[in-house]
Amino acid sequence: MLEFRTQGFQGYAVKYSPFFDNRLAVAASANYGLVGNGRLYVLELTANGIQCLKWYPTQDALYDVAHSEVHSNHLLTSSGDGSLRLYDVSLAPEFPIATFQEHSREAFSCSWNLTSKATFASSSWDGNVKIWNPERQQSLLTLPTHSCTYSTQWNPHTDGLLSAVCSDSHLRVWDLRTPASANNHLILQIPIHSAPNTINNARLQPTFPPSEALTHDWNKYRSEVLATAGVDRIIRTFDIRQPKGPVQLLQGHTYAVRKVAWSPHLPDLLLSASYDMTCRVWSDGGGAPGKPAAELGNMGRHTEFATGVDWCMFGNEGWAATCGWDERVCVWDVRAFMSG
């Protein structure tokens, strides 16, 4: 396992570059992101371990980072003051090349469009998801959720499909190809806490109260499947063709789950990072009916909240990076922690 200390700054998000097979970006904040500055780290995996290529200081805490899909040196951050900033790593100065300031409260996530690659989305505590084009200072579109929106993601298969999860325990899916109308492109609004979709409805179903959803991610192989997770410690997989309720419930974390990420190599593998200081690997059963979901492994290296998770697309499949409030960025082989 490789490690890097983001000394003095607690990690919030880690992302592998889509262009360089040895580059990582980490969004970190001082004082656990509650008050003070932030720092964007650009790290490189070298023969001598993880080295810091560059770092950028920021005025407020950083909560998420995304790599540009079109420009190999551009990085996007979302910050506690509601702004999104674009950095060019190849340039010398420590300043962003563009600032996108419209959110009135903390911007918790940013996500680059993976299909058309021309836009990116941000979500914020102010109850909005905004869509931007890096060449324009003003947002292209604002999608209201009226609830603290912790995470927004583009569907990697269908261009124009965008989702977000909020603290009102709902998953929202927008299709930007539909006309705006009164719904603002909203096509699905799923209560995450619904009872699971099961074939055997005669059985007593567990019931769940609504709870804040902190993270979600689209499956990279099954275009209609996504996973959400949050404060009630349960990771749920949804099939948007059957939005009545979750398909699988993955339980095991003992505290809130902060981040989930589907594997870019296998259609049923999922990594999660939680406040219980563990990162866990799961299989959701692959969608075959009757195939059970299972926890496959548990990485307990972090000694504080684990907050960020990302899989490496290159090289040996199965490597991932995680970060946490213990100021550690860990790069590790997930297969070494999987049993069965």
Binding site: L34, V35, E106, C148, L204, P206, Q251, Y255
Partner: protein
């Protein structure tokens, strides 16, 4: 940036909000699984008193001249005296009974009034054959759960001495006689069980061994006084058949229980239902008289009234099976009850499976793969009797007292039901 301290405070409370756990497991209200059923919740339906009369032989024992309603009356009085509950707090009484004409509804209502319940206590009778006593307890539990009542009594009574006979079942119409399955409902239990034993190849040897074991367990339990807690004596009038004089006797023990029964001694008894049959009086449930009652209420109510909590009712199941194979009832009903509770048979400490016939009981235990040492540890109906409508309510007292005595927790009561059904219920002792 303005208002920085407020922002910090808001962010802090947001993160704390992610951690605020209410000490609940990941599945907040699933209520399934052994841990979940052992948990105590104020809305649990709990048993605060469960008693029965002694069981005596139908037509011969000291209760033979006592009307069923009187047995019930004594049982109600005993329940009130032991539980010390204010009778006016009991809102409904359900009494299972199979043979009484009209179900017994009128005389049971009268019995409740005579026992000291005010007229504000409602009474009903019900008949699901051998499971009536259990069904009565389940009905009361369900009424409490749904909020229809707060406190109720599930009970059962049968005076087979005074009411066993053809008067218990109405003549079938041609419509019913001409439908095969419907007509099968009239086939006597002994006859169809004999056929079932033949078809399922349950040998006479196995049946006699099981029956002897039941007698042996029961006599041992009786000698050790293990029935003393659940049995409350009754004082009744009894006409001695030999001298024709009427005496008043106090009955304290089950009189069906006998010493010296072995598989060998049973093997000498002649088969009752077929020349080459396997079932006889010694390996089938005895015809008996008796009554039992169970006081049920919510845990929060019990705590408020200061009632001791003996255990809780978890859930129940009822299943239908072919009338001619009614003996398989427990085999079908028990897994359903276990699944609804989210537990497995290994989580269960004691099974109370009514011994209607050794043949069906042996078969069910084998098919379910149950540990025999967990089944009917104090013996069963073969040893001390099966007053039809009473048994289900009797099992609750037998089960809970034995679970509590041995410090165990999870129990299942079950029985097969004539005309082709099975019932099972999950209980937890406390």
């Amino acid at each position: 940036m303005t208002q920085a301290p407020d922002k910090a405070r808001e962010r802090l409370s947001q993160v704390s909000g992610h951690l605020a756990s209410d000490n609940q497991p990941a599945l907040p209200s699933s209520g399934l699984g052994k841990d979940a059923i052992l948990k105590k919740s104020p809305d649990d339906v709990v048993v605060t008193c469960a008693i029965r009369t002694p069981f005596t032989k139908g037509g011969k024992g000291p209760l033979k001249d006592t009307m069923g309603a009187d047995l019930l009356l004594y049982t109600f009085k005993n329940l009130l005296s032991r539980s010390k509950i204010d009778p006016s707090l009991v809102e409904d009484i359900a009494t299972g009974c199979v043979l009484a004409p009209g179900g017994g509804a009128t005389e049971f209502r009268a019995a409740a009034l005579a026992a000291g319940f005010p007229d504000s206590t409602a009474v009903k009778s019900l008949n699901r054959q051998c499971s009536s006593g259990l069904q009565a307890c389940v009905d009361i539990a369900n009424a409490i759960k749904s909020g229809m009542i707060e406190i109720g009594i599930g009970s059962g009574v049968e005076s087979m001495s005074t009411q066993y006979g053809p008067g218990a079942v109405t003549e079938f119409s041609e419509l019913l006689e001409n439908h095969m399955q419907a007509a099968n409902c009239k086939v006597p239990m002994g006859v169809l069980s004999e056929q079932m034993a033949k078809d399922k190849k349950v040998t006479r040897k196995d049946q006699d061994a099981f029956a002897a074991n039941s007698f042996q367990k029961a006599i041992k339990a009786q000698e050790q006084g293990l029935f003393d807690e659940e049995i409350m004596p009754v004082t009744v009038k009894y006409t001695d058949p030999k001298t024709e004089e009427e005496k008043t006797v106090t009955v304290t023990k089950d009189d069906g229980v006998r010493t010296g029964i072995t598989a060998e001694s049973l093997s000498k008894i002649r088969a009752a239902f077929a020349k080459d049959g396997t079932i006889h009086a010694g390996n089938a449930s005895q015809v008996s008289d008796g009554a039992a009652a169970v006081l049920l209420m919510k845990r929060s109510t019990a705590e408020r009234l200061g009632q001791p909590i003996l255990g809780k009712y978890v859930n129940a199941s009822v299943v239908g099976v072919p009338p001619l194979l009614m003996g398989i009832g427990p085999w079908k009903a028990i897994p359903v009850a276990l699944e609804k509770a989210g537990i497995s048979k290994d989580d269960v400490d004691i099974f109370e499976i009514n011994e209607a016939f050794a043949s069906q009981c042996v078969w069910c235990i084998k098919e379910l793969g149950l540990d025999e040492s967990k089944v009917n540890p104090k013996g069963g109906a073969i040893a001390f009797g099966h007053p039809l409508g009473c048994t289900g309510a009797r099992q609750v007292s037998t089960l809970l007292t034995e679970l509590r005595r041995t410090g165990q927790k999870v129990g299942v009561s079950s029985m097969c039901v004539g005309t082709g059904m099975g019932m099972a219920a999950v209980w937890v002792a406390e």
